[in-house]
């Protein structure tokens, strides 16, 4: 109880801090220097309609790379952290409902398609690699929900993940030699503004990001999913193809 009182007092004080922030914060009327520059030059320099994507992939590409790295890190850590252990005693796995199975059979392809769309069009409309990746991963979840024993091939996921990450970095380094610097998207010509094949390397990078994020998130989920699998889980090779 004392602990709660102290916590309460502390949070009151913290609220005071925040209040001071609110008091002193002035809502901006105009875009600041940086944002104005992006608004002004983003379209022509990068060639992407979605400024957020332009920023995420090029201007602040290093951040994005870092973020992808973090997901990769998390997935890697989980892979040796939540190592699959043999659990003693077999437990029956509840069979999922008919409805769910049917729904997933219908929905999953669409979900994957949607994800792909989102990250391919990331430079034009809202959405992009993260969102698309996340959508793909949620499709995967649906699969997992319907059939807990169906093991998503972690090896394949890992390969796709590694390959996309490796290519991403490779393209980034190529930018040093072929364009203005690391992760410069102007390795390819800018193309026509507003079309699918525009914005230089940006869509490609975003696709790679999408793939990577998707596989990483999936990897993450499988790790958590795997820990509750009673034993090693058999993953027949023939099922591999269906999942991705």
């Amino acid at each position: 109880m004392i602990k709660k009182i102290f916590a309460f007092l502390l949070l009151i004080a913290l609220a005071g801090v925040f209040l001071v922030v609110l008091q002193n914060y002035e809502t901006p009327e105009e875009l600041n220097l940086t944002a104005a520059y992006y608004a002004e030059h983003g379209a022509e320099e990068v060639g992407a309609a979605n400024l957020v994507s332009a920023i995420v992939v090029t201007y602040r590409g290093l951040d994005t790379l870092g973020e992808v790295t973090i997901l990769f890190l998390t997935a890697s850590i989980l892979s040796f952290f939540l190592k699959q252990r043999e659990e003693r005693g077999k437990r029956s796995v509840r069979a999922s409902s008919e409805l769910l199975r049917t729904a997933s059979a219908v929905l999953v392809p669409f979900i994957f398609l949607l994800g792909a769309y989102v990250f391919i069009n990331g430079h034009l409309s809202p959405g992009g690699g993260f969102q698309g990746g996340a959508i793909i991963a949620s499709g995967l979840v649906l699969l997992l929900l319907t059939d807990p024993l169906r093991k998503v091939s972690s090896r394949l996921l890992a390969r796709v993940e590694s390959a996309s990450g490796f290519i991403y970095v490779g393209l980034g380094i190529a930018g040093i030699f072929l364009a203005g610097g690391f992760l410069d998207s102007r390795v390819l010509p800018a193309g026509t503004f507003g079309t699918l094949l525009s914005a230089g390397l940006l869509p490609i990078l975003y696709i790679l990001i999408g793939l990577k994020v998707g596989t990483e998130l999936s990897g993450l989920l499988t790790r958590f999913q795997e820990v509750q699998v009673p034993d090693g889980g058999d993953s027949p090779d023939l099922k591999k193809g269906e999942n991705v």
Partner: protein, 1054 residues
Amino acid sequence: MVDQLFFNPIYIIGIGLAAAFFLGFFHRGTLAPRIIMVAVTAAFTIISLAWMQAFLLQGQTAEHGQAAAQVFTAGFQPPFSINLRMGAEEAFLTLLINISGLLGGIYLLDTLKKMGSHAVSVFIILIMGMNGIIMTRDIFNLFVFMEIVSIAVAGLIVLQKETNSLAAGFKYMIAAGIISVFLLLGIILAYAVGGSLNIDFLTAADLPGAKAGMIALFFLVIALLLELKPFPANGWALDVYDAAPAGVSAILAAAGSAAAYYALVKILPLGSSSHYTLVAAAGAVTFLGSNLLGLKQHRGRRLLGYSSVGQVGLLLIILGFSEVLGAQRDYIAAGIILSHSLAKAILFWLAGMLKQDGLEAWAALRKKPILLILFGSAVFALVGFPPFPSFFAKWELILLLNGGRFYLWSAVILGASFLEAVYLFRWFGYALKMDNEKLAEPEAPLFRLLPPIVFGILLYGAGWYMGSILEGFANFSYIPLAFILFLALIDRLPAWIKNTVSIAGVTFYIIDLYPRLEGDLLRLIFAGIFLIGAVLTLLSGYYYKGRRAGFYPLALTMFAGLAVLIEAANLLEFFYGWELMTIGSYFLLIRGKKSMPHGYSYMLFSVGGSFAMLFGFSLAAAGAGSIAMSALTGVTVLPMLAYSLMLVGFLTKTASVGLHIWLPGAHGEAVADIHFMASAILLKAGVFGLITVLLGMGAEASYTGPILFVLGWIGALSALLGNISASFQESAKRLLAWSSIGQLGYIVFGLATMSHLGWLIAISYSVTHFLYKGILFLVIGGIALKLGTPYMYKMGGLIKRMPFSFLAVLIAIITLSGVPPLVGFAAKWITYNLIISEGIYYQGFIVLISGIVAFLYLFRMIYTMFLGQLKDNLRTVREINIWFLIPVYLLLAAIMVLSFFPNMLLRPVGEMLSGYFPDGAIAWTGTLGTTRLGYYDGGAIMYVIGGIFVAALLFFFSLRKRTQQVKQFNIFYSGEAPSRPELSHFSYNFFAHYQKAIGVLTLPLVTNFWNWLSGILHGTADFFRRIYTGNGQTYAYHLVLYIVVVFFLQRGGM
């Protein structure tokens, strides 16, 4: 110029990530991932090295700007894209990180093998992320890299799969999460106000100018500060250091701290001076707090955690004082970072080799001497001893802080450093001396041994480099140190070879030194004591059969330090010599069997003393504007404090009362020749220091009165208490040790009078004490060695077995007690003259009666050892080793010469002193000295007394008696012949009645005082460390509380 094509800093990120992603293709168990890891970290290192080398060659280490390379990403200019910078600082820090990564990776090879390729990629990303933190110039990018590092760390913690590691990792994640919340708030607010995320543009945007900007800065600074684990909001960090695999902790301490530090370095210029103050204050609290709490810690790794946190606190202080430190800030910070990182990594790596974690268990290191050497090097580097970088850094830091009148801050720094020394040396003492029979040998395969060894070498190299670029130290001669290194390298040879080499070396040095000192009698005398003493000690070293591992390098280190004292051209060199001497003497004193606690207290007093001295020197330098030795003359900044501190520093070495408690034990447990070095020679270093300071201080200024008054009383009381305590000792060695305290008391008293005669006493005592104490130490030490006990009541009747020793001791004690006709009397005579002519009656009286008391213990010693009943077990014992007798008789010859011709010593010294104190000089006619008050003719006294003695003897012979030598037990003893010598050897508790009468004077008040102080400190530490409840939520609470408190404190301050 660095080739950007090959050594582009972005490659560190590119290669790192590419490699990490590529590792996904591998499966665990293969060798390839680890090869890739080593190759990648090696590539990182090469890139950093290329830049570092370029900056060093351009000589722009401390310069910002021009030479630094900017790396743009995405092909756009900042602030619109993220850019990286590779300047001198970045090159230095990334180099440090990458080497740590390379070696740390090698150290972790087997752990990583078990965990598979994923763990390897996490490791690579960790190192890459730290590089990123250093290089990026974008605050949000900084955040991203910090998160990368946090998560990677959280992942690596669990390489060790224990509940504690898991709990530590969880707490760490929670803390990192909370910190990142505030960091993000700071970033976004800074962006809202400054309109940019680029550090350089934000600096120009004047954030402190806006209210919201100030708040943004607060969040940024506090978040980065919390990354640096400020006390007390750092429980989580301690757990990580404690529970993570040692290899990971090593990297965290070595590289992680450096990276987090540099993040703050980058952010702070955005803010105003109040942020610097905040950082400095947080640093001071941390440095002091965590070192205080470290006192109670009894597990190695956690203690290292405390120490790491403390060192980072020191870095924060340095950072906070950027303005004051100016161009030297980076030098100082580099020194601290180097010492801390290299030493901490070594220590953690060592911890990983041990099975148990208690401090006592570190004694297992002794089973592999190389590990012990590494441990020692690391400990000395952390405390700030030469030749390590932290020594120079600490010197500069204190100098500049005190130059800027920030006395309290430097006092806090030194105080906290002292606390650190307290636990580090306790620990080191355990490692050196604790019983290690039952401990398992440290597990040190080559891949684990290599990293600490490389770091050890780097530590020394860095120290050398830091010294060579420091103004005032650039011309320092390293030849003696090279000689010591040579001795260390030939340590496997038998002792007599090394002994000969050492004697040759010292002799050569004397010959080389002499022309440089000619004409400077004062330094010549002390050089004589130090170096001739060295030769004599080494001469006696021939007695030793076997290898005597480690003795020669350390002994020579001490003598080198003493020689540096003599030769020092400025305060820095002087201090360097002083510390060098301390190191050497510490290791010599702790060689004895039971000397662990005594070596420890010696070290503590030495460290405390040298810190006091450092403080005093820095005040002197602050006033004079230079560190030349002349700065000691007429100090203008807080002169009273400055001189007092310097004197206290030297008084610790002269073991004057109040600061003496280390001496009896330390000297009492030392081996014969070491005892000689420590007492007859080493203590004189303190005297030399006192002389140096007092010459600078003079006696004119008003503040000198109280100082000299106190000093005089310290001297007088040391003399009295030293002598009285000596009378009650049962161990001959301890008796001599106490006697040294007393004798040094005379010297201090003489110096404190600041008069011609007083100084004459001091200097002639320095010489004669060297002579007769040399004899006593060597003989008694030799006997103790031979008999295997220093206890006098176990001896007796040795005159029959060791007549040469007896004669030497007899002469020595006659000299010591000042009984005419030997030269010791000269000092007594001058003392009377001094007391009366200077009117210092009360102190003088104390000194005089202590001279009388000296008689008690001297008689007791010679009687109980040489006279009385010969014990049965000693009937066949032989004369002490000839190698002891040779130096003894050389010293004896010197005493006899000086007794006949006291003017040989007193006259030139007097003439020299007339240069400083013209009044009251002794007039000399041949051997007759005359003062205003009296006269003394050493030669005549020798002849008269000799004549009377011979005449009496002749008269006795002329009686022509038949003399019959009788058996030992043939005495008048109630008509019985005692059968056992023990029964009739009256020796134990010889002065029981004296003790009964005045034993109250020898109550260990001083010891009790220091024990009390230590108890208070430990109690405080124990009380405060209970804030570390081990509960993750409490730590989260601490973090938020820290933020809130600092926020309101700072607003209140604004």
